[in-house]
Symmetry: C2
Subunit: 356 residues, 2 copies
Amino acid sequence: MAKGYAIKDPKNWTNFQVVDFELKTPEDDDVDIEIECCGVCGSDVHTISGGWGEFAVPFVIPGHEIVGKVTKVGKNVTEFKVGDRAGVGAQVGSCGTCAPCKSDNENYCVGDGKKGMVDTYNAKYADGSIAQGGYSTAIRAHQQFVFAIPEGLKSEDAAPMLCGGLTVYSPLLRNGAGTTAKRVAIVGIGGLGHFGVLFAHAMGAEVIAISHSPRKKEDALKMGASQFISTGEDPKWAENFARENPIDLIINTASSNAVDIPTLLSTLSVHGKLITVGMPEEALKPMKVQSFAGTGAFFGSSHIGSKKEAIQMLKLAAEKNIKPWTEVMPMSDCSKAVKRVEENDVKYRFVLTKTL
Amino acid sequence: MAKGYAIKDPKNWTNFQVVDFELKTPEDDDVDIEIECCGVCGSDVHTISGGWGEFAVPFVIPGHEIVGKVTKVGKNVTEFKVGDRAGVGAQVGSCGTCAPCKSDNENYCVGDGKKGMVDTYNAKYADGSIAQGGYSTAIRAHQQFVFAIPEGLKSEDAAPMLCGGLTVYSPLLRNGAGTTAKRVAIVGIGGLGHFGVLFAHAMGAEVIAISHSPRKKEDALKMGASQFISTGEDPKWAENFARENPIDLIINTASSNAVDIPTLLSTLSVHGKLITVGMPEEALKPMKVQSFAGTGAFFGSSHIGSKKEAIQMLKLAAEKNIKPWTEVMPMSDCSKAVKRVEENDVKYRFVLTKTL
């Protein structure tokens, strides 16, 4: 039994109530973690407010950027022992046997017909157990979805990397940031975007930060961007980009559909890629195929990252001393935190610390 | 001076009139070709009917699948001599100096600020010369856009490859058909689609033909498809595809926006690609980012192909004896031909032979 901050009705999505809840049915591959802190992700707001759809479970305890101490391990677990520091991100289950699962793509698990992808909260396991998130005292998860936290990283810094960081790190890595993709643009300098700038810079790319307003210019340059574009101030910014300064890879972190995708596509180098990792509640504005033909562009999305990538990201962060820009507050203030995330009033990630 | 079949008003887009016209200003890199035959492309219909926009020139002579005999060469031309067989596709100009031009991507030329991409018809050169197409007696083009036709290929078979063939060959090649992309689907079995099946099969891929009706099943299997899906007969066809038979690469050749893109994306292997080479006049139906996240899919388009790829394609066709399925008719019947293309009444490409 654990305790957590729960939302029972998406209409009252800031009205957290402390509830008791059961952890998943214990299995031999499971790791139990006593939660020390948990980041606040835009997904938390989309989910508890019903923006991504109705609740799949009776109440939702959000939070999928979790760090804490291991309190128990199943008999198949060799990587962790009681007392270790460990984290959990946005996924806690997969089938383990499909082609993606067998190739370090468990974040793209297609299921085996019985078991499949399980999100960290607002989700059910195949046996009916309910997955609840990290605005709580404890989580139990299969070892595949538990990541060791390197010594050099503080828990409050590691936590927001486990969804926000990984969600940008994985597509940066898979699309060659710093290697084949020399020039990388990050659209939207919020929770995800600030990680985008930090990691793309650390991976050796030249980073262009693109934001609708000039407000975040100074911050973006401090994070490692070498150029800042305020699209609102210069509506013609993209005009000669493809000829003069083509971008190889764009990571679009905006969580609304207001971003002008065709203009972004027009700035790409031949066969450049635009990966949208924000998940707007609305559809994208209608696009013409012609917008893609000029540069042979690709538009895609991405789903968090694999355990292998999470470990690699945490190692990079520890080695290069990459610190997210966070505001730390007690978990009992989670209502304030989600409200401020919804209002975009955060620089750049909240981390909630244990209060229950 | 040359003669050609011209449309003067998109409202009367089947009313061809024989006109005299000037070839481009001669330059030292130019090759003059006396036209023997010309394929009829869907682009011809989109252009002359105004579906892609207003005319850029006073009258349009369409046709960009041209084969004929060289009658004159500029002094910089070493690849061709008078009497050689040669062809021209959908592009006749580029700047020659931008990064794409310098890397065998002249089909993605971004221009140098003065010169840039010139389409084969309905286009102007930087000096004001007007580019007219192959429903005519002659064409003059820069040697970069003139392709030698291998001996083993008949002119009527080579012609439709120079736009229709190349438009699918290039994205098949660039996205690993038969190598990294083992399973390739071709959506729409028309002019482009039939080349898609022929080439993807010749490149060693397992080919799935996808069509809305069962009408073309027998033909598609003869062309080299190993599986045929009639989406209209089996609306649930895609349901277990990603788990059981994921597709690595989809080339969508449909020229309308009726194709269900999210369903196609759901059948892809992890980071699989959907390349749309049909250019619908309308926008795509609105899509959600979520449709891309499940498989980490990429949606893109492509613009014809490079000279290097055209030569490689023609060599492959000659070596493997790949023959397009064509209906050959006299060029004076061009009005009938464009009408039937608009009605989808062609199996699978018209080729017009010299009548003027």
